[in-house]
């Protein structure tokens, strides 16, 4: 079993974190997050453009396709900073879609699609889910039509669907399930927003009604289930960083409040009932950080990622859901209000634990990987 034991950031990585944090501190605030959370279609363009200018949207995309060619650890740092503040930008969608193109596309397809994703010029999203429980239940069909394919079906739970300009969709061909690149303005494509529990992460439905695409839109020109798995793994690891950072932020909010809220003549953090909740949160947060960081480092290691990815999903999902729920409890009445940030974290936590497959499904994968 491969052991990857190094968690320390290089100087360059620390600088990346500081730069991203600076950008977010100067351009994104919780008021705009809350505003975005009412509209369900909002995207923080100022932050998105800022990230694009910094060149961090394609950190994990190879240099020959317009990216920076880094390991996933650098991208993980960006997700950590975004996750702390729940910034509504479509980076998750974009990173997952890029991973799918990278894993399934031919040389020329990668060269065609990836540079626009890496630069932020086009927002991309992976549209593969249809059934609320079964990831791989696919009724969308693609049939040969002249020198292309004709695709019909409905894709649901598509992240950032309302503003994605290009979708990577899955469809069943006679040979198996393949991935196709479909522009959102293609004739026959209709996109509808679905109100999302975590409105800072828009979800939507993509209806494909007899949509025609050219043969070169078929990634790799053949079915590739491994590419879907790889893209989902990339997404899970990105989300794990958000989860760990979101849980850390919840801990900070809780501790800050517990120090300053006085009842019965004492700061409520001096009561063990509150203090102990905070201590337990600290343990969960530290474990989540370790699991998330390890997954980012192990992502490109074929063996270790089989353990590290489902491990991150399992540990970080529970940690964030618990931390955000306990934060509301520690805050009391104010935690239940719309005006406080706490609900935004709870919504992000719950919805994230459900995205890209259930926690249980990842525990089953973990069980396979460890040989039980």
């Amino acid at each position: 079993m491969v052991e990857i034991i190094t968690f320390t950031r290089t100087e360059e990585q620390a600088m990346l974190a500081a730069t991203v944090r600076e950008l977010l501190e100067s351009t994104a605030d919780m008021d705009s997050v809350r505003e975005a959370s009412l509209s369900n279609t909002a995207i923080d363009r100022a932050v998105w453009n800022g990230l694009a200018q910094m060149g961090v949207l394609g950190l994990h995309i190879p240099e020959e396709y317009g990216g920076a060619g880094y390991s996933f650890v650098e991208t993980a740092i960006v997700f950590e900073e975004l996750g702390r503040r729940l910034v509504p930008v479509p980076l998750l969608s974009s990173v997952i879609a890029a991973a799918a193109v990278l894993a399934a596309g031919t040389e020329s397809q990668r060269a065609e699609y990836l540079p626009a994703i890496a630069s932020g010029e086009r927002i991309a999203s992976l549209a593969i889910f249809e059934d609320p429980h079964d990831l791989l239940e696919i009724r969308t069909e693609a049939a040969r039509d002249g020198d292309g394919w004709r695709i019909s079906g409905v894709k649901r739970y598509v992240t950032d669907a309302p503003h994605a300009e290009v979708f990577v969709i899955s469809a069943a061909t006679d040979d198996g399930v393949g991935l196709f690149v479909v522009d959102s303005d293609t004739q026959g494509v209709t996109v509808a927003a679905s109100p999302s529990l975590d409105a800072t992460r828009p979800l939507g439905e993509v209806v494909l009604d007899s949509v025609f695409v050219h043969a070169d839109a078929y990634l790799g020109g053949e079915p590739n289930s491994g590419a879907v798995r790889k893209a989902l793994d990339v997404g899970v690891v990105a989300l794990a960083q958000e989860q760990a950072a979101g849980a850390q932020r919840c801990l900070e909010i809780s501790v800050e409040y517990a120090k300053n809220r006085f009842q019965f003549g004492r700061a409520i953090g001096s009561f063990q009932a509150i203090k102990h909740m905070c201590a337990d949160m600290l343990v969960a947060v530290e474990h989540a950080k370790s699991a998330a960081l390890h997954a980012a480092r192990a992502l490109d290691d074929a063996d270790e990622s089989k353990i590290a990815v489902p491990l991150a999903k399992s540990v970080c999902s529970d940690a964030f859901v618990k931390a955000s729920g306990d934060t509301i409890q520690i805050l009391g009445g104010i935690g239940f209000t719309w005006e406080h940030d706490a609900h935004l974290y709870l919504k992000r936590a719950k919805s994230t634990s459900l995205l890209l497959g259930s926690v249980d499904s990842y525990r089953d994968r973990l069980a396979d990987a460890i040989g039980i």
Partner: protein, 401 residues
């Protein structure tokens, strides 16, 4: 101060010399430990002459890794853990030169086993309320009282004991710390049988036990300061520990599942969840060790004791549940036996049932989980402490029991 890299080079040189002059395969364990002490590789961060080389404590890891790789015996550090893991740090921080000369080497070579006596029947989590009295008598002190939960007392030559020397002071003042000869007259050691039937611990009674004043550690009345050093060393020792994947209780759980032939999806999922929690804990200990070595310790170094206690209890309980009806039996049965030195030396194979019972102590021994949560809340997160009713009262006026 030389750089960490230069220090590592010096440490490596010292290890090379030790291993070539005393090849572990041809050297008796005690002789090797003596040579290791003389080479400054017992506690590498201690001063020269006290079993160290005066380098950064981050090099301890390097020493233990290289000696283990070379096949050297290292079980002294577990068999005499209260001395080597805690007492040594106390001696080097608070002891006189004579005291360090007299005690450190035979401690490391296992010629003298050590135990530690803080807890009393009336002083558990609130150690500072302890009542064992020491009264000065010329060049000696006369001790009366009872200590409890004393691991290894029945095998020990020396004991670290903290006593009440001034009952008129508030509880944190008025304590004094001694090293007591466990074979001295008036020391009565009785096994304290525990939930599993064995006795890892003892009750220790002091009946007019005389301790020479040159066995006092630090000043009269400075006992609490020394206690704090002892406990800090204990927590560092626990926090700095790392272990292999699927080790210990969770490995046993995996074996039990695989041998059960069960195909129950929910049980397998729950086991995977627990495995994941243990692995995240393990990764955290690695991260803590790495940050400690890099000189940037963070909160990840403080959570291990609490996290492990909770997890070990949960995993061992789940394992017994997986046994079904067999979980209602205990293969070893119960018999009342003091734990012997030999069983501490080699890792004993416990049944899952026995491991489940032993795990109950994890959240009590070495600081209860409630106390650990207070420490995390107050020292790591900066939350305010509980108001204390006994803080400024003379010890003799504080209700106890």
């Amino acid at each position: 101060m030389t750089s960490l890299d230069d220090q590592a080079a010096d440490v490596n040189d010292a290890i090379d010399t030790l291993l070539s002059q005393f090849p572990p395969s041809r050297t008796d364990a005690k002789a090797f430990w003596g040579a290791q002490f003389d080479a400054g590789l017992a506690w590498v961060d201690f001063p020269k002459g006290d079993g160290g080389l005066g380098v950064s404590p981050s090099h301890r890891e390097l020493v233990s890794r290289r000696l283990a790789e070379a096949g050297a015996e290292t079980w002294n550090t577990t068999a005499n853990i209260l001395g080597i893991g805690m007492g040594a740090g106390v001696l080097v921080t608070h002891g006189t030169q004579d005291q360090r000369k007299r005690w450190l080497r035979p401690m490391f070579t296992m010629d003298e086993i050590w135990c530690q006596m803080f807890s009393e029947p009336g002083a558990g989590s609130d150690i500072a309320s302890l009542a064992t009295r020491a009264v000065r008598d010329g060049d000696e002190w006369v001790v009366n009282g009872q200590k409890t939960w004393t691991t290894l007392a029945h095998l020990s030559k020396w004991g670290m004991v903290v006593t009440r020397t001034d009952p008129d002071q508030p509880k944190h003042r008025g304590m004094t710390y001694f090293i007591v000869d466990m074979e001295a007259e008036g020391v009565d050691i009785r096994p304290l049988y525990q939930i599993t039937g064995e006795a890892e611990f003892n009750d220790v009674f002091f009946d007019d036990v005389h301790i020479p004043d040159d066995q006092r550690i630090d000043d009269v009345g400075a006992g609490w300061r020394v206690v704090m050093t002892t406990l800090m060393n204990e927590r560092v020792a626990i926090g700095g520990r790392t272990f292999p994947r699927s080790d210990g209780a969770v490995g046993v759980a995996m074996d039990v599942w695989n041998e059960s032939g069960s195909g129950d999806v929910a049980t397998r999922r729950e086991l995977a969840r627990l495995w994941g929690e243990v692995e995240a804990f393990r990764l955290t200990t690695l991260r803590a060790a790495e940050n400690m070595q890099a000189g940037v310790p963070g909160p990840e170094g403080s959570t291990a004791k609490l996290a492990w206690a909770d997890l070990n209890k949960e995993v061992t309980s789940f394992t017994v549940s997986m046994l079904g009806f067999d979980g209602a039996t205990i293969p070893e049965g119960y018999s009342l036996d003091p734990t012997t030195y030999d069983t501490r030396e080699v890792e004993r194979v416990m049944s899952p049932q026995r491991a489940f019972l032993r795990a109950r102590a994890n959240s009590i021994e070495g600081g209860t989980s409630e106390i650990m949560r207070n420490i995390l809340g107050e020292r790591v997160l900066g939350l305010p402490g509980e108001p204390r009713v006994d803080k400024d009262l003379p010890w003799k006026d504080v209700p106890r029991g």
